[in-house]
Symmetry: C2
DNA sequence: TATTGTTATACTCTATAACTATA
DNA sequence: TATAGTTATAGAGTATAACAATA
């Protein structure tokens, strides 16, 4: 008998990535309820941080969600003063979205919470494991079309 | 101004874990449609592989889902001959679940597909990055109560 | 009366389709 | 007529609640 390599489903990276992803998403969503937000709201704030003044349709493409969802998300964020809607004077069909100061504050808070979660997640890892995890995810994010934002230019050379 | 460390939300591990987890789950779910399965069906097959003859309630706890969901999952898998239901003679309220040969075949196929996905995911990583990712996920899985099955003993020393 | 499984119902998230207003 | 946004509707997935059978 050929020493069957008895890999279990639960040992696959795919399974673990799926489950841990859902777990993290749930925990993060729970954090966000403190500000009456859902993860997709943060997605919109973050998109506007990258692309201020984008139209709702542009945001929908960026976030890869249906335009109708952007309406709902923007409605809520507008009602709490986190984003502003401005009609494009050149094409009055378009709603241009902008972060307000409040929106920027909110996004900073959300980012901070994510970093706290990051720290909790990696608490059981050795520093080099954590670094390796980060590096691997940089690659994965790039390889799978996630927004890999040019981060703050510390080294403009 | 103190060189603000302008970490973007999309650069956090939490965001990436959430998004990549969802992405992987979606791709895997797409694979499974070939056998008219959903990820939770595989979860049930896998649970029965670990705990043959478990009752539905026990499975629900193991899978951390509602008992009513186990009914639906088992209904479907029973109808396709992947699992068997046997009334516990000692307590006729309990339905004991078992994998059939067909179920074992199916689980093996599902595991294989997951391994293929794993390979695709890590294709862009260097071998040591892939290894580091695996090690980090071993830790994360253990730390967050995922089933960490004693894997095949290759090195029993 | 308590528990297992089942069925009925409801809720969340999100997409698709229908509609309004601009172009 | 085509497009941006909006509103209405529908579907997937899963939980909670009500119920039936057995203990």
């Amino acid at each position: 008998m050929p020493l069957m390599n008895d890999v279990k489903w639960v040992d696959t990276l795919s399974f673990r990535l799926g489950v841990l992803g859902a777990l993290v998403a749930d925990r993060y969503a729970a954090d966000l309820t403190a500000h009456d937000l859902k993860p997709k709201h943060v997605g919109l704030l973050s998109a506007l941080d990258v692309a201020p003044g984008a139209s709702q349709l542009e945001i929908a493409k960026l976030m890869r969600v249906a335009p109708s969802l952007v309406v709902t998300l923007a409605d809520h964020l507008e009602s709490t003063g986190a984003v502003e809607r401005l009609r494009d004077p050149a094409d009055r069909r378009r709603q241009l979205l902008y972060l307000t100061d409040r929106g920027r504050e909110l996004l900073a808070w959300c980012t901070d919470r994510a970093l706290v979660l990051d720290a909790e997640l990696t608490a059981g890892l050795t520093p080099d494991q954590a670094a390796a995890l980060g590096a691997a995810f940089d690659r994965l994010a790039a390889a799978h079309g996630l927004p890999v934002r040019g981060r703050t230019r510390r080294d403009p050379t």
